[in-house]
Amino acid sequence: MVDTVHVRAFARFRELFGDALEVRVKVPATVRSVVQEIARMNPDGAHEILDGEGNLRKSVIVLVNRERIPGNGREDYPVHPGDEIALYPPVAGG
């Protein structure tokens, strides 16, 4: 079964992937399956979010439903149909 999650991207990632995209992933989905699908849809920007081994880069910040998902194992964090995933690079405000 396939379902849709909403993805928002900011700053450099917004320019690469668009500010809002619908991503179709197999359920049960995880942060990993969502970012891998984004990379598949956007081969030019894939290296910005995934390293050479296909793992999520440590510098990429991931939020699910506006909660930051920190630490090791965050790629296994479950994502449910209708969830909002946000991806952004290191912040530079102030």
Partner: protein, 132 residues
């Protein structure tokens, strides 16, 4: 007042607003667009999360340093050299807590709050590197 806004603000008016009977020191930080050979700057935020984070940082500063008043205003949108980017105003009983809280708040903003700057020069545009 804690907000992310496209609108300019009057720092003097906001500093005046921090006066209250238990405040003996008002400390402010105003970040402005510096001329580093840039023509303008775009400031982008994940606004809903940024505002939530600024609220949390203000509460942290109150709890850690015992300050009694915190304003944080962060602008987004198109800014020119000399424009205000961010204003922090802290009202405290004594100056030491005010200085510490103000520094704490700007440091936390720079390392945590989802805001980015894109600078435009004659040669082109570049994102300011994060990672504080």
């Amino acid at each position: 007042m804690i907000k992310v806004t496209r609108d300019d603000f009057d720092p003097g008016e906001i500093i005046e607003g921090a006066r209250q009977r238990n405040v003996g020191a008002v400390v402010s930080f105003l970040g402005i667009v510096r001329d580093d050979g840039i023509e303008r700057m775009d400031v982008e935020a994940f606004e809903e999360v940024a505002e939530q984070d600024l609220q949390a940082i203000a509460r942290e500063a109150e709890a850690k340093f015992g300050v009694v008043h915190v304003d944080i205003i962060h602008r987004v949108g198109h800014l020119s050299v000399g424009d205000s980017i961010v204003l922090i105003v802290v009202g405290a009983s004594h100056r030491k807590a005010g200085f510490l809280a103000c520094e704490y708040i700007i440091d936390r903003i720079k390392e945590h709050v989802p805001v980015w700057k894109k600078e435009y020069t004659r040669e082109g545009a570049r994102w300011v590197e994060g990672g504080h």
